[in-house]
């Protein structure tokens, strides 16, 4: 079998997912025996723009130019993989979609200057082009990346376990900081796979992997309120990395509109 041709490209984000791949120090050389990396601007010069057997895309789409670029890249890629919170769910910057974007810009540049930076909604990759697979976490879980490449090489289809972070946390016999210490934790509704990293350090789950399938947000919020969270606390906890996660978005918009009629989701048509 010919070596798969791999591209790794980044749109708007912190470049942490690309860096995570460079952090595969122990596996990198073996990996290079199995695949050809033809495009990886962060790591090398002399890049080829496709065609790609697999294209890994980091970051969110924040302007028209990027939207055109990703559409062109999609045409050159057999398989397109969204990598990390920004590419999958919009990332932290998607919080902006829930605020008056125009006001933020005008405050920064004045009315005239704001025109240089047109209002544009932060979009995860799947809002612009079809995505074949998602690799989660902020930054991307490098072992999940490695697993994905292995599956592709042997011709299988990788699947995500549909389990909440709590499942892995319990298996590690961690003390439950949510139930026992009243520290608000997103573990019950967030997709497992990180090995309950934050709770294992005595810190609450921050929610960077997005929702599990059919996540019980209402029950989660009821429990948060019972543990002393205010309505503002709840919105802040739910809306962090995953502004464009459909489950988060549906839940928040419904809940907020009940609470406050003036709260609005950013307008898309204004450019």
């Amino acid at each position: 079998m010919a070596k798969p041709q791999i591209g790794i490209v980044g749109f708007t984000g912190c470049a942490g997912c690309q860096l995570s791949l460079l952090d595969l120090e122990d596996e990198l050389l073996d990996l290079l025996n199995l695949v050809d990396i033809i495009d990886f601007r962060m790591a090398m010069t002399g890049n080829k723009e496709g065609p790609y057997d697999i294209l890994f895309v980091e970051g969110s789409i924040v302007n028209d130019k990027q939207e055109e670029e990703i559409k062109e890249l999609r045409k050159k890629a057999t398989v397109l993989v969204a990598m990390g919170s920004c590419a999958c769910f919009g990332g932290v910057q998607a919080m902006r979609n829930y605020r008056d974007d125009k006001k933020i810009r005008e405050a920064a540049y004045g009315k005239e200057g704001a025109k240089n930076f047109p209002v544009f909604q932060v979009k995860p990759i799947n809002k612009v082009v079809d995505v074949d697979h998602y690799l989660l976490e902020c930054p991307v879980n490098k072992y999940e990346f490695l697993d994905f490449v292995k599956y592709v090489l042997i011709g299988g289809t990788p699947k995500l376990p549909n389990l909440p972070v709590c499942h892995q946390c319990k298996a590690l016999e961690n003390r439950c900081i949510f139930l026992e210490d009243n520290i608000i934790c997103m573990g019950p509704v967030i997709q497992a796979g990180c090995g309950a990293l934050c709770p294992s350090h005595g810190m609450p789950c921050d929610g960077c992997r997005g929702s599990t399938l059919e996540a019980a947000y209402q029950q989660q919020v009821d429990l948060m309120i019972k543990k002393g969270a205010s309505v503002q606390d709840v919105s802040r906890f739910v809306l962090k990395y995953n502004g464009e996660d459909p489950q988060v978005k549906d839940f928040l918009l419904k809940a907020w509109q009940e609470q406050d009629k003036n709260l609005q989701y950013g307008e898309e048509e204004e450019k």
């Binding site: 122990d26 930076f117 005595g202």
Partner: protein
């Protein structure tokens, strides 16, 4: 006279998206634009309204390579805002974590991003067949640096273990001992890298400009201190960074701001600035490298940033071993987790691997953030990069076009710009909206 136009689009082997436009007329540059074209994210906008303890994790997403610096700067500045005073032990473990990041970022830069230029390769991946041992050593050192970050911070990128007043949990004595052994190995590797760099042909170009670095008069500081100017000797407390000192302006071709000091003076921040300003506080083994490289301080050659990085590899490894030794003898105690918060302002100047970093916050008495201001190293340096191009261009007339292109690429890379950082460096002052 014909005008030659160089437009280096999407410069490789840097983090983020940046272009450099240079128009050369005869032997002079006519138009120079360092274009930072990374899409904007507006961190200073959406961090407003967040609680002080959540913002630590959010601010680190500004940049992956310096995520630890952003978290440490955020936690230290936010602690000042709400009047939490962390213990000495917390400070020392923060320094230890920060050194993990410095080692990681520097070995990534000198080993994987800069070295291919000097040896004539596209990237480290292409170096594997000819330099297998060097590449293996670099990967091993990078692994060790990441292990240190993961041990203290919980993860290599975007640490999860930092909270106001201390850490989630501390490593065991056994883990600290294992880490120490690895760092001793790291130091040996650093000497090998230093020997390699001592043989490289580094371009000799000087541009004497002001340089800034954090200074405390006692140590080689990364986290706490004032801002010292190298040439003028001026010392500015971190909270006065914008008071008649640093000024930012917007240029239409770039999403990053351009800054000057003292009304229009170009300056720069970098590992070299740190070595120039704080060299006497380096460890002995690090000082020995200055001699080995034959550097005369103060040094004004931006390409020597790479040598400064190697010197800091040695220094940070030494200091990390010292801190580990201390806590192997006397295991860390639990942090105090009960504190009452007050409203206030907190401003701090720290050193990210690529130079000076400013974080400033206003927090109200409920702990909700009201104002955020961040100036990142790359935003400090954009003017200086353009100035270098203008000053160096007349000396490049004998070079062929592709050599000039490589030279400019190497010049930009020598600043190790992390561009995703710099783009959010657009101040959004939400207080002005009303």
């Amino acid at each position: 006279m014909t005008v030659k136009k160089f437009h280096l689009e999407h410069i490789c082997r840097v983090e983020g998206h940046g272009n450099l436009l240079v128009e050369i007329d005869g032997n002079k540059s006519k138009n120079v634009e360092m274009q930072i074209v990374e899409g904007t994210r507006f961190f200073e906008g959406f961090a407003v309204g967040r609680k002080y303890d959540e913002a630590i994790n959010i601010m680190s997403r500004i940049c992956a390579i310096c995520s630890t610096s952003h978290q440490l700067s955020a936690v230290e500045a936010l602690e000042r805002s709400v009047s939490i005073v962390p213990s000495d032990q917390v400070h020392e473990f923060r320094v230890l974590l920060d050194h993990g990041e410095n080692l990681q970022s520097h070995i990534l830069h000198v080993g994987m991003l800069a070295l291919p230029d000097f040896l004539g390769y596209d990237g480290v991946i292409q170096m594997v067949p000819k330099y297998p041992n060097e590449v293996k050593l670099i990967l091993r050192m990078k692994r060790i640096a990441n292990d240190l970050q993961a041990l203290i911070g919980g993860r290599e990128i975007h640490p999860v273990n930092i909270r106001p007043g201390g850490f989630g949990n501390y490593p065991t004595t056994r883990q600290l001992e294992e880490m120490k052994d690895k760092l001793v190995e790291f130091k040996k590797g650093t000497q090998t890298i230093a020997d390699l760099y001592a043989t490289l042909d580094i371009p000799q170009f000087k541009n004497k400009t002001e340089q800034l670095a954090v200074y405390d008069g006692k140590t080689y500081p990364f986290i706490r201190g004032d801002i010292k100017s190298l040439l003028s000797g001026k010392i500015t407390p971190p909270e006065d960074y914008k008071k008649d000192f640093i000024k930012e302006e917007v240029k239409p071709y770039s999403t990053a701001k351009f800054s000057t000091i003292n009304d229009g003076e170009i300056y720069y921040v970098s590992p070299l600035a740190r070595v120039n300003i704080n060299s006497k506080f380096l460890t002995d083994d690090a000082k020995a490298l200055i001699k080995q490289f034959g550097m005369k301080l103060p040094d004004f050659n931006p390409f020597n940033n790479n040598l400064a990085r190697v010197i800091e590899l040695m220094h940070c490894a030494d200091e990390a071993i010292e801190i580990l030794d201390k806590y192997i003898m006397k295991p860390p105690k639990e942090d105090n987790k009960n504190f009452r918060i007050k409203a206030g302002t907190g401003t701090i100047a720290t050193e990210a691997p690529r130079g000076l970093l400013n974080h400033s916050y206003d927090v109200n008495k409920e702990g909700i953030i009201q104002r955020v201001d961040v100036i990142t190293p790359t935003a400090h340096n954009t003017n200086k990069i353009e100035d270098d191009v203008v000053k160096f261009t007349p000396k490049l007339t004998d070079m062929k076009d592709d050599e000039i292109e490589l030279f400019f690429n190497m010049l930009v890379r020598s600043y190790d710009p992390c561009i995703s950082c710099s783009t959010h460096a657009i101040t959004i002052d939400l207080r002005r909206t009303k």
